[in-house]
Amino acid sequence: MSTTTTIRPTDLRSLRDAVLDTAGTIGIAGAGTAADWAGPLAPVDAVLDTTGLTGVITHNPGDMTVSVRSGTPLRQLQDELAPHGQHVSFDAARIADGATVGGLVATADAGPAALVFGSLRDLVIGVTIVLADGTVARSGGHVIKNVAGYDLTKLLHGSHGTLGVLAEVVLRLHPVPERAATLAIHCSLEEAAEHAATVLGGPYEPAAMEWTSDGVLLIRLEGTADALDARVQRLRTALGTGELLDLQAHSDQGADRDRTEQGLPENLGTGPEPGDVPPAERAAPPSDERPVRRIGTDESAVRRDEPWERYASLVRGAPEFATLRIGVRPSLLPAVLADLPTESVTAGLGTGVATVALPPAAVAAAHARVHAAGGTSVLRSRPAGAEVPAWGPPPSAIAVLRAVKAELDPQGRFGPGRFDPWM
């Protein structure tokens, strides 16, 4: 067995050189927040550490696009975008742990905001990748509408480091909503599904809707400072229940400045006064929390968003359990979950996506159950040393997947083991 070397390139050129100058198999590592997701990486000759590939390359606020090096922590990117009142509409739980943009794309991760904005596949509009033979290829660009050529972005999304290394990523941005509010309802999964049907069947346009096995349904609304109160009230009336949480907003002076520079009125809306928030809670936002901006005040105030933090911690799983990410038709989700011996659950009742913690021994049957329901499942984490199947039955297009792998990485250099036993 050869010794593993770690290489930490700092730009596209040195990344390409690293791939070319290395013989044998390569594991790609970012911040390591998903190191044990999917199949376990087989022993490799070299590890390519992408955390030196950081920083914004181009941010075009007027076009609402940004290109970044793939090793940039998304948290850091969001911080840089915030003064412009913009963000990547994406809130996967492990962003708080320092997950990189490239890692989030490669692992096809997503958070509650996927209900409206989808996963990163829906937000990435361009990539630069390095293949196992050192070829540097680009697809997409800085425009949100682009149908020239094949969308290589999609191929890399969910590839778990087996097809190429992401060097640069171009993302579509959205405005940070002025305000957000969450309605929390204590209920069972069955009751939550009924509430979800009411919410989705009406004009409420939730920004996120997740049930957790703590017995809470969280419904987040986002919008303008002026309109949100009425919307929340209407939703609460329709559901006949619900505890209102974090009807807060924080000012973003950068956003104010941007507007002023562009000749916009400084007070386009009014929100709750800064005094609404206890001073002790005016801390920097926890990084997994979606910030909200407030127009026309010069104070910064953010309250910690505890229910969503709790949600994120359940998504991350627990060391003694295996964590499985599943997706089925939303209406089938409660029944599928009821059949699994779950320790904890977060369930997106609008998306059909759930993250469950299970005893490792129950994972194979869980894959089978989800597959029988026409869904997909991927192992996210496993107790140290445990042998747990990462994948369920292979998709019908497995031959295409293998052929793509053979074309792009004929020697099987990247990510050996990640897709065992599929390829």
Binding site: L152, P330, V404
Partner: protein, 488 residues
Amino acid sequence: MSVDSGLGSRVKRAFETALAPEDVIGDPIRCRSYECDGLTGYRVVPELVLLPRDAAQVAAAVRVCAEHGVPFVARGAGTGLSGGALPVAGGVVISLARLKRVLEVDPVDRRAVVEPGVTNLEITAAAAPHGLYYAPDPSSQQVCTIGGNVAENSGGAHCLKYGFTTNHVLSCEVVLPDGSLVTLGSDTGEQAGPDLRGVFLGSEGTLGITTKITVRLLRTPESVRTLLADFPSIAAAGDVVSDIVAAGIVPAAVEMMDTLAIEAAEEAVHAGYTVGVPAALVVELDGPAEECDVQFEQVKQICDRHGCTRLHIAGSPEERAAIWRGRKAAFAAVGRISPDYFVQDGVVPRTRLAEVLDRIAGMGAEAGLRVANVFHAGDGNLHPLVLYSAAAGETERAEKLSGEIAELCVELGGSLSGEHGIGADKACSMPKMFSRDDLEVMRRVRSAWDPQGLCNPGKVLPTPRLCGERPGRYRPHPLEEAGVIERL
């Protein structure tokens, strides 16, 4: 001369066995109906046209192609404007016109399962009784099919807010070029492994043929507010778009038209546009009523601030429909003011709209041709219409100008195509946008799906030897004319 195809009677019989004899068209006169799509400048008569009735027959037909090395091109309604469904000489066209069933509308999970020959608007019509709709809405939505939308990753006016076909297709049943039937994608946005569905979407029929599509449906917005605003200049209208974006508003649609496009549209459908103004914007907001009202006020103020000369707010669904009728009629309407025209489809970063329009005007003046502009301003997707008269011998000049405009978009940091695709039309421009390595990687991807190269060959990627050689009627290749190469 036999009316049997040049493919040989044995191959034809194999297709007749795979389908039914009456569903295989070999008569050259009838095949001529399929010689081009909406890009009528390029024409190739296929050897055979196949009219399968279901997915199994499509798969059977493709298996015959694979077995006998016959190139094939899938075709829906033929509304594509880049020659994506242009037949291949010596090949067959597989028409999906008969696969037009809406198989399922599921209001609970908000999705529909349809066959590829269903038109875009028919999906929304099927969903409407449940208060749902299908968001991507190409201007040709009344006639274009969802199969074609999948092939081209089509967009439309409302894609600024809601995204494109790729964001709304959950899964596709696909006949691969070897004739096998697979499903790409799943019931949710969640995926296990690389996103093959995402690669297939927008691949312009070069990776396989879709036979069943599951799309996401959205709830019909509670409130829709639409305005039509006139401006003294393109630049002023452009500034309005920038300010709307800067205010953190994501409109459902922002469309812009210039003098020539307005004049043509108004003449055609009398939608209430102001003839003679330099620029008009259609801005539409949708969403919860409270939200819509607040943001609509902001948009009105922004319009005022930039010297809006007339602000017409749709006061009824009929007025809203009229505004959209004007916009959606613009392409066809241009036919009233010019005997012929090319529709181009480039994209620039939104912040460079004024610059690109200025340069297009200059290029048009230099070429002695008029260019009308009607486009998706919110996402920088231009549709310059290059007006010309074939009878007056302006075709070559117009074609050249149209190509130069697309390449200008690339020069300004944009794309050769926003929704119409590359097809046969712009394959030769691809090296302007992508490096040799970029294209080579795309070729490798294509080869993984279609190792025999039978699936819509000659589209999207340039074929180096033939670039400069147009499909369709024979024209000498420039290198041939120069005596460098000879035709074998």
